[in-house]
Amino acid sequence: MPTVVLMDVSLSMTRPVSLDGIEEFQRKNLAVHGLNMLFEHMASNYRLEFTSLMAFSSLWELLVPFTRDYNALQEALSNLEDYDKTCVEAALNGVSNVVQQEWGSACPCQVVLVTDGSLGIGKGSLRHSLQTLKQRGDDKKFPLPFPFPTKLFIMCIANAEELQMTDAMDNLEELLCLSGGDGQIFTMEGPLCMKSVQTMFGKLIDLVYSPFHAVLHCGNLSSDVQVFPRPEPVVMDEEVEPMPRTVNVDEVGTGTTDELEEEPSASQMAGKSPNFCVLLHGSLKVEGMVALVQLGPEWYGMLYSQADSKKKSNLMMSLFDPGPEPLPWLGKISHLGPISEAADNPYGEDDSKSPFPVQPQVKRSYAQNVTVWIKASGLQTDVQKILRNARKLPDKTQTFYKELNRLRKAALAFGFWELLKGVADLLERECTMLPDSAHPDAAFQLSHAAQQLKLASTGDSQYAAFDHNIVPMHTDFSS
């Protein structure tokens, strides 16, 4: 999940914090210190995360576009300049644009807002933005909630008491609420100093940026893995199952978003000893197979080799939605058994076939030649089909009756008896128009069919049964 760091560079951030007169820092220095700590942590433990850095005052600026280059981010932090007043709304609009341009609106994103909690004055201040929320047209909507799923973390370079003296805390809480409520406001505890800013960012790191370790088991083979991005809990049905599902770390692999990448964790194992993940990856790649992985009760995913380029490939895990049957064409996962139990190998001795996909019990409408007469053309086509075949009797006897019975069934179901009479009339007319050269059977079949349709159109249960089919009249012209 990408991160946007939104750094307040308004003048108020340059306010000094003095500690017993020993050293003097600005709040900005504390913020930079905290962010450096975050970036260092990510560089070593979370290096696949894309992070961008934006600075804002009354205007906003994208200092570093989304990158995994944490040096670049730290470099930019060291070159921050000071500007005018705080305008959170404009900055959030900036975040919205930057994120959507890069990742679209479906990709969840983390926003880390670093501010001293003095949220501007007058027009453009957060207070003003929130007060005017309801008086806006469609073109000037408040940027929260963002179109993409968001986690908002507000890092206050101030302590809670200070923020509660004004309405700053209330405003920040409302901001968090507007963004969808997912996230947290962090404040500094005790005196404003390097140590307390470290503590605050430490809490953020533990909450959001701790690496996800898990163990991947395959029978007795196993491997410690780190999963990135970190799998997030999923709420399947807020009513029936209000508790979010989380990945069971001990059970097997991992995760909740769409795709996860696994890296064998370097911390646990000696560098060059064989690792099951590497073996698995190699074989999946060579065989072109995927491995099903269970993440918890009724929660599954798949592992496969994902190649970004010819040279680099890695083991990827995609998670399915929790549930007993995540992919309909696999059937219930609990009912997938070993092929050794099957009488014949369902894949064939030479891998020429496959037991998948599992066909649904009932075919979908587009796969079963349904009859729909909503549009006149549908009805006309079906009638014409019957007439076309009627003119080619007796060669087309089978098709003729098949189409006739299809129409009959639909007309009976729709209570459209008038149509049955109409088609019977048409068939009788065809009968009178048969050319002299016509096979004598044609006339017999046409009048037989017409008579049967007429009987059905009376609704008489003997002739109008839905499952009954009109069968060709038995004729014998061989003698």
């Binding site: 479906a106 029978g219 890296e263 060059k272 074989s283 995540p326 070993p338 209570g415």
Partner: protein, 723 residues
């Protein structure tokens, strides 16, 4: 982990969480269709079904056009609603169909097996059209509406299953439902009377439900009343948006002319009721049917309905209404997103970064363009869909393809992916080991592939098929060295029959015989002194002597078979056979031999710096470094061959101190080697040997042996148990 076929999973990932609550009003839909005499009236929309071709037109009087009754219109439109619903939600969005005249007729139940248009059509045929001669005074839609409320109280299979599963939180299973009433009402007052009656019935039925296990009280009911009147008449009932009658009941009224207006209305309703959206595939090339245009092709459009999440990206980015491809059709009621067909390239089996897959239903299912498209997809082809843009590069945003007879609209990620440029697996741990048994593990995966097992089949063990598959994985991995140089037996063709059989849950007598034959064959090989595929890499010599090779092989075979010996008596018989037949009794002989050699070795080191003793002392030094030296030894391997897989006979890990390559005794030796050998040889004498090393086999000693006793199972190879 289990192994299905990759073919079955052509896309990379799915995210199709349905936002609708499991038990929202959409779980239960009751259709109540008026079957009273006035419904037999003509809709006055005429259909010309006798379309004469020009060549045949002369002298033929065309058949008078037919017209559908109000009943026929109501039934076919409700069937279309159900068709779309069942296509997109094949499970657990349920319909109960009731018709009402002088009494109610319930045509199906909530049961899953009753949920199909075929079932409903069959039941409707039995009902037939309304009888125009029936006494209108006896007939009323009310009979059906009361039955609908009663039906909503009946528990569905899903509600039952979930209540059982949730146990003490069973009250989380809600009971909501929707009644779609297709009728010809007399007036607005009549409509109000119907609403009041439903409200009362709900209260009554809820009281009844409170005292029953098979009934549930209705928490929310949504009435959608569709007043149908013939073309050319004025409506007597006015449209009314949804309003709350009571906390239990909401009601809305749609007044619609029969015929295509009704069809459009129900199409819109099914989209609203089930969170659907519409996509029109445009520019579909199709051969033209008419003879005069043979071999030409024209472009067609096909409209599909699907869950609206497939348009999430458009909705959220606000592009939805402004998208170039969005068009408003017909009477301005309907919106569709237009996507352009991209003719598929042949033989491209690309994996696309897919973020969701949604079932589709064609709006006009049996039109020729629709059936051409769906048949194309059902035959296994895929179509990429492009967003029409006025400028800029083309963006592929969706893909149509079928799985198992069902067509899905796949959403492809057209933005930058957060998963781009992942590190190579070779950068991670174990990534530089080059002799993984890739081919063997591939074979292992193929043997452990999965297949669907019928839910009706019952296994005597009482285990689900997936549990049995996991149990098989467990058995097959009890002894499974990951790299070629860790194993001898899995590099030997002669061991294959035994290795394949011993992992089975049960053995037949014949299997035991085969295993025994394998063992005898190995004995024979040893007698003939056949070479074994044992690696020499890292051993600084030609590797172990032949008898030592066989000792290694027998040890490994014994390790494999021991992990299964406890399973059945027959498994034990295989182990007994190996122990009886193998060349030397393992441990004791081993220790004796080592003791003897050590003396011998020290002797020689004193005497001269011959190559042979160099090798010995190097081995000694290695032992003295302790357990960590394994990694060093491996790093040697990697220096030898950084990238390519090791040849079969390279065996760094199995080298042991008993190497006596006679040829090398005469070879030259570097000064560094001589010096370091001397130093390490001296050092090794300065401390007492570790217990583990002293009693090791093959310079390997199994750690945590007590665990093995506790578990009754040895899951690790000797020496590997260290981690």
């Amino acid at each position: 982990m289990l192994f299905p076929d990759r073919e079955a999973l052509p896309s990379q990932g799915f995210h199709q969480i349905c936002k609708m609550k499991m038990f929202s009003v959409a779980h239960k839909t009751v259709f109540v269709v008026d079957h009273c005499p006035y419904m037999a009236e003509s809709s006055r929309q005429q259909v010309e079904c006798d379309v004469l071709t020009k060549s045949r037109a002369q002298g033929v009087i065309p058949l008078a056009p037919v017209s559908k009754s109000l009943w026929t219109c109501a039934v076919e439109c409700s069937m279309e609603y159900c068709r779309i619903l069942y296509d997109v939600y094949p499970k657990d969005k349920l319909v109960n169909y009731i018709v009402s005249d002088s009494e109610f007729h319930i045509l199906n139940s909530w049961r899953r097996e009753d949920q199909s248009t075929h079932e409903l059509m069959s039941a409707l045929a039995a009902v037939g059209p309304p009888n125009p001669r029936e006494d209108p005074e006896c007939c009323s839609i009310l009979h059906g509406l009361v039955a609908a409320v009663e039906s909503l109280c009946k528990i569905t299979e899903l509600q039952h299953e979930k209540r059982i599963a949730l146990m003490d939180t069973a009250d989380r299973v809600a009971n909501r439902g929707r009644i779609i009433c297709l009728t010809n009402a007399k007036s607005d007052t009549h409509v109000r009377m119907l609403e009041d009656c439903i409200q009362e019935t709900i209260i009554e039925q809820n009281k009844l439900a409170a005292g029953s296990d098979r009934l549930m009280a209705i928490q929310q009911c949504e009435l959608v009343l569709v007043h149908i009147y013939p073309q050319g008449e004025d409506t007597l009932v006015s449209d009314r948006p949804k309003k709350e009658i009571s906390p239990l009941l909401t009601s809305e009224v749609h007044s619609v002319r029969a015929g295509r207006h009704l069809a459009t209305k129900l199409n819109i309703l099914v989209q609203q009721h089930f969170d659907l959206a519409s996509t029109t595939i445009t520019n579909i090339p199709m051969k033209v049917k008419e003879e005069q245009h043979a071999n030409t092709s024209a472009n067609y459009d096909v409209e599909l309905l699907h869950h609206r999440d497939a348009h999430l990206e458009f909705f959220k980015s606000g592009e939805y209404l402004h998208m170039a491809g969005t068009s408003t059709r017909e009477n301005g009621l309907k919106e569709t997103v237009t996507l352009k067909w991209c003719t598929p390239r042949t033989n491209s089996i690309e994996l696309h970064y897919c973020t969701g897959a949604y079932r589709i239903s064609p709006t006009d299912v049996n039109s020729r363009p629709s059936s051409c498209l769906t048949n194309f997809l059902l035959n296994g082809r895929s179509v990429l869909l492009e967003q029409p843009r006025k400028s800029g590069s083309k963006v592929i945003s969706h893909m149509l393809s079928s799985h198992g007879g069902e067509i899905f609209l796949h959403v492809l990620n057209s933005n930058r992916s957060t998963l781009e440029d992942p590190p190579s697996i070779s950068e991670g741990c174990g990534g530089r080991v080059t002799d993984y048994r890739i081919t063997d593990f591939g074979e292992f995966m193929r043997e452990n592939r999965l297949t669907p097992v019928s839910e009706s089949s019952h296994d005597p063990s009482g285990k689900l098929p997936a549990e049995r598959a996991k149990a098989q994985l467990e058995r097959h991995t009890r002894y499974w060295p990951m790299i070629i140089s860790q194993t001898t037996i899995f590099n030997m063709q002669a061991v294959v029959p035994l290795a394949n059989l011993i992992v089975k849950e049960t053995l037949t007598d014949e299997d035991v015989l085969t295993c025994q034959k394998t063992v005898y064959n190995l004995v024979d090989m040893e007698r003939k002194n056949d070479p074994l595929p044992i690696s020499t890499v890292g051993s600084r010599g030609k590797g172990p002597k032949r008898d030592e090779q066989y000792r290694i092989m027998w040890n490994e075979l014994e390790t494999l078979v021991k992990t299964h010996a406890g399973a059945t008596d027959r498994h034990q018989r295989v182990l007994d056979c190996i122990i009886a037949c193998r060349s030397k009794p393992p441990e004791e002989e081993d220790r004796k031999k080592r003791g003897r050699k050590r003396e011998e070795r020290e002797d020689r080191t004193e005497k001269n710096g011959s190559k042979e003793t160099d090798d010995k002392s190097w081995q000694d030094s290695e032992r003295s470094v302790g357990l960590m030296d394994k990694d060093e030894q491996e790093s040697e391997v990697i220096k030898d061959s950084p990238d390519s897989p090791e040849p079969l006979n390279k065996k760094p890990r199995l080298t042991s101190e008993e190497i006596q390559p006679p040829e090398r005794t005469k070879g030259p030796v570097s000064l560094l080697t001589m010096w370091s050998n001397r130093i390490t040889a001296v050092n090794s004498r300065k401390h007492q040997e570790f217990f583990g090393r002293a009693s090791s086999v093959n310079s390997k000693f199994e750690l945590y042996q007590h665990l093995k006793d506790e578990n009754g199972m040895d899951v690790h190879e000797n020496g590997k148990a260290t981690r």
